[in-house]
Symmetry: C2
Subunit: 252 residues, 2 copies
């Protein structure tokens, strides 16, 4: 019985070595491990995760922890369990790819270029439309949030995490100004993708242009209540971002 304590610390320390901050809880760490394994293609749809007991022993954790991790994956549409049939990886179209955590797993390894393209295409569709709505519905507080984020972007550049957070805040403020919860939820997903690619571009030593002027143009149009201008300015912004991303990805 006292063994339980030791193996617990062991497992947590181990998971900490492999990836920092996946989940503070044990089942969170397991979900992270399995999630990244699935997203990276280590398991493909149709594959069966060997039985509870086998897997729990292999991971050196109890069945409870393993089961709770499976519940998480099930909730996100990655797997489904049936008695006797085992736990099976579901087809890709059942995955909640827009779930922030799933997205994090997708970007934990080397994400599929096609998938990144998908997200940027979605962004190119949603964000200009959101900017148009924001221009019509924003209030003073929204504008202040955007302005603050813009100032923070100027202070810290996109080379720092603080700068990227400010970038996310700016875009989130726009989504928030649309007064549309469904759109707002997307900001988390899109933000994760953009953040990753921004880091990626930087790793590739290819951080090209100053993004501030483009952002300012979007802000000005929204502040002026110019719906068409906001949409167009945002369109330019995401197109340029996509262009940069694409070139640095194929370059690699």
């Amino acid at each position: 019985m006292p063994e339980a304590g030791f193996m617990n610390e062991d497992a947590i320390a181990k998971s900490g070595d492999e990836a920092r901050g996946p989940g503070r809880r044990l089942h969170g760490a397991i979900a992270h491990k399995l999630g990244t394994a699935i997203l990276s293609g280590k398991y493909v749809p149709g594959d069966i995760l060997s039985g509870e007991v086998a897997f729990a022993e292999e991971l050196q954790v109890s069945r409870s922890a393993y089961r709770e991790a499976i519940q998480v994956l099930t909730a996100k549409g990655l797997v489904a369990s049936r008695p006797k049939a085992g736990t099976r990886v579901l087809p890709r179209d059942r995955w909640n790819l827009l779930d922030p955590e799933v997205l994090g797993w997708a970007f934990a390894g080397e994400p599929d270029i096609e998938f990144v393209r998908s997200l940027f295409e979605l962004r190119a569709i949603v964000e200009p439309a959101a900017a148009r709505l924001a221009a019509q519905r924003r209030d003073k507080e929204d504008l202040k949030t955007m302005k603050d984020a813009l100032a923070a972007m100027r202070r810290h550049t996109l080379t720092t995490e603080a700068g990227r957070a400010a970038d996310r805040d700016f875009h989130k403020a726009i989504l928030q100004a649309t007064r549309n919860d469904a759109l707002l939820v997307l900001s988390a997903s899109i933000g994760a993708a953009v953040n990753w690619t921004t880091q990626f571009k930087q790793r590739a030593r290819a951080l090209p242009r100053n993004p501030i002027p483009d952002h300012v143009r979007v802000y000005d149009a929204i502040a002026a209540g110019d719906a068409a201008g906001a949409a167009e300015a945002m369109n330019v912004l995401v197109d340029l971002a996509l262009e940069d991303t694409h070139s640095s990805m194929v370059a690699k």
Copy 2:
């Protein structure tokens, strides 16, 4: 170690169909109960769910089953648990509102009109753009799927579940033809909302116009590879749907 023998498409499709429903498993039923309670506003952000033991006793289930349900809610961003502090409902902007299951919980009771408006606004943004992409990228198989769905819509009308399923299939086929996974994921969310409102309009005895011609126009444009025409036709379609929905909701 998947033995290629016994897992066929049938088994996967079957498991997919029976996956919906209030929850055949116990923890699924609990998650449903708590999820609908949260989405309906019975619990508001910041509220804390009384302790595990207390709640498990109240629901007459074991702590394990309750905990697995909580893991599901946690995975969807509805709640977060911390030792000693309890399990508290997270602020709304952390909720994965586009998760199909969460959406189902939102529509289980009387959904917030503002939220429905949000989803239709999202639809009005995404679907025309998707139709544009579909017109450029669809292949013969995509067109066949759309055509079949259209035929099914004609056979069963929108008054039957089979007809509404055909409607969803039609729109899903368009999203699928975009070759964009991120967009495809949205189809499930949007489809759920549209399905609910369609049923709602019917309950309100206000099923107004024949939707077939509008759908045919979209199909024709996509089949012809007319990107602009497809976007415009879809735009008309969703605008009319939104108009109908709005009028029947305020009428009530």
